[in-house]
Amino acid sequence: MVFQNVIWAITLTGMGLVALGFIYAIAQAGKPADTAEAERAHRTSISLRRALFAALLLLGIGIAWASLRPFPIPPQHQPLQAAQVVEVVGHQWTWDVSPTHLRADEPVEFRVTASDVNHGFAIYAPDGRIVIQTQAMPGFTNKILYTFRTPGTYRIMCLEYCGVAHNGMTAEFDVAAREDKS
């Protein structure tokens, strides 16, 4: 399952719930309540808000816990000991990537930096979706640890605006199936 499709479904659900809340209130807006009804509605709204607060709090804590443990960014100040290491330098408006032939199912460490301005180092899978990215910054090296599961040709695109030829700043590398390892 493509991760972005899951995010899309969750987003539509969340926005849909907000929309339903508004549709319900709007549908009721034209029917004025008498004093007793208004008092009842007021008490209900307070209870509902407390329940929503508790639900959102639990949801937020749960998602934060699940999404931060293990921390999704590898340690930046210690060796990652990956089987494959790729050095990446962004320039206006090219990428230096070495090596450009990688193996699937073995971790790859990308060491990403820039020689001039900020760039965005994004890896697009053969199906056209981003699999991972980081910023390429002058004076800093950002490290990605990623294991490719699908062999094929991957495309690098710059996702941080870096000047007039920004959208043409692309490169490619190959990922071979593990059995092709020489």
Binding site: I7, W8, F22, A29, L56, P72, F140, Y161
Partner: protein, 495 residues
């Protein structure tokens, strides 16, 4: 507490204030339309429907970003001024001074972009402004940054005047924010929401503008003396601290219009409560410290800042969902709401804000940001809460003021047609951005891959519909504002 009288005496606009308000709002409406046309140009270029070269595309992109953020700030400042002046004594010279400095700053930016060819995006990430590869000069970059400085100084001038006025009236800013009632005590039901929100904006946005001033001065020094090299990560932190607060302040200034006006159309009081005060106190802190969520892909950033960026992004949703949006829904529920242009726009505004922050909060998750950052997901969510949230807040006030001229709320067929076009075009425009973002379509690209063109074309058509609605709004409101007679009797203590 805000008045339930539809057009209270203390909101009248005598000569000086009438002129100042019209200057702000007519300028803003014209700029909104122009900036939307620039945005449409970008979408049509990506759709391969207009032959705009990359160099011009990125100049248009820079102007659109800086122009929209500046115009949102200008118009929402006028919203805050309009209501705050009822409760505290503001000086008209400070309000007008902000306008003059904004216009001078805008001229610098327009000159830098369209004459000097500056195209570093509105975020001017160091060192791109001084590393143009020969497309613009360092002097041009300096003019652009000087423009930002002038606009920032104007905003600070207005905030300082407003802060002084709140302190004169309430003793200090904490009391303006209502902090004395957080843990107990009898809340003064007449304490205005406009003062609570205004105080929050003054505190948070002054800090943001000061961060912006610091980074702009650093970049200006570097432009003329490259030996004074800057740390790109520190600069990026300061820029996003500044940028995040400036654009978020527009929401918090704009929402004052909803707080003040919606109860007049529902007929239900909408007083302050302890949850309301807690939410604004929390939002003050959240908006100041949430900016690292813009740097989640900067792995060199300290880990605690990245974690804070994610967690505060989540926490920032609570005040919006559970207090402001929920409060509005309970205010309109079973109220006998009179559906007029201002009330329809107010409800739309809260929907746009609440729905728009759903994809924003989700993108604040580091593991989501790894695949969504700098895709069209990002303009998708911020256009949602700016186009369908903040701008309708501003339009709520404008339609209300136009209605106050003839003592009857605006509800014409053309205005409703404009609303229909604006809402349908706006929702479609933003949802196309979000859909394209989840398909990994990059933002800020002058030319798109062939497989991305269908999204660009759908987005372009939606933008045309949206702009048609905005043109109707702008025309009707500008005519209404210009025809409005000047109120003779100032009933409030403005200077």
């Amino acid at each position: 507490m805000s008045s339930l009288e539809l057009y209270p005496q203390d909101e009248k606009l005598p000569r000086g204030e009438h002129v100042a308000f019209n200057l702000y709002m007519i300028t803003a409406l014209l700029l909104f339309v122009l900036m939307m046309l620039l945005g449409l140009t970008m979408r049509m270029t990506q759709a391969d429907w207009t032959p705009v070269q990359a160099a011009m595309f990125y100049k248009v992109m820079t102007m659109h970003g800086a122009g929209m953020v500046g115009t949102m700030s200008l118009a929402s400042t006028a919203v805050m001024w309009f209501f705050l002046r009822k409760y505290v004594s503001l000086h008209l010279w400070a309000f007008l001074g902000n306008y003059v400095l904004f216009m001078l700053g805008a001229l610098c930016i327009i000159w830098a972009v369209f004459v000097g060819n500056f195209a570093s995006a509105w975020t001017f990430l160091y060192p791109l402004p001084v590393h143009s590869m020969g497309l613009w000069s360092n002097g041009t970059a300096a003019i652009f940054m000087l423009g930002y400085l002038l606009i920032g100084v104007g905003m600070l001038l207005f905030y300082l005047d407003a802060a002084a006025a709140i302190i004169r009236r309430y003793g200090n800013l904490a009391r303006g924010l209502g902090l004395q009632w957080l843990f107990g005590g009898t809340i003064d039901p007449t304490h205005p929401k406009a003062v609570v929100a205004g105080t929050m904006v003054i505190i948070a946005n002054s800090l943001g503008i000061l961060a912006g001033a610091v980074v702009l001065v650093m970049c200006l020094i570097n432009a003329y003396d490259p030996e004074v090299a800057l740390n790109a990560l520190v600069v990026k932190n300061l820029i996003y601290w500044f940028g995040h607060m400036v654009i978020n302040a527009t929401i918090y200034m704009g929402v004052i219009a909803v707080y003040e006006l919606l109860p007049r159309y529902t007929g239900k009081p909408y007083g302050i409560s302890r949850p309301f005060l807690w939410s604004w106190a929390a939002s003050t802190v959240f908006v100041i410290i949430v900016f690292p969520h813009h740097l989640l892909m900067d792995y060199a950033e300290p880990r605690w800042m990245l974690v804070m960026g994610q967690i505060i992004s989540y926490a920032a949703g609570f005040p919006v969902f559970l207090v402001t949006a929920y409060g509005v829904l309970t205010n309109i529920h079973r109220s006998g709401l009179r559906w007029k242009m201002p009330s329809m726009l107010a409800v739309l505004a809260l929907f746009g804000w609440a729905a728009g922050i759903v994809p924003a909060i989700i993108d604040g998750t580091i593991s989501v940001n790894r695949v969504m950052h700098n895709t069209q997901w990002v303009p998708g969510h911020f256009h949602f809460y700016l186009l369908l949230g903040v701008l309708p807040m501003i339009l709520t006030l404008l339609y209300h003021v136009v209605g106050s001229r003839r003592r009857a709320p605006v509800n014409g067929g053309l205005d409703r047609a404009g609303l229909f076009l604006y809402v349908t075009g706006g929702i479609a425009f933003c949802m196309v951005f979000l859909y394209a973002g989840h398909m990994s379509v990059a933002r800020r690209f002058a030319a798109h891959l062939p497989e991305w063109l269908p999204y660009d074309r759908a987005g372009s058509v939606a933008a045309m519909v949206l702009i048609l609605g905005m043109l109707l709004f702008a025309t009707r409101i500008i005519v209404g504002l210009l025809k409005a007679p000047i109120d003779a009797d100032p009933a409030h203590p403005a200077g």
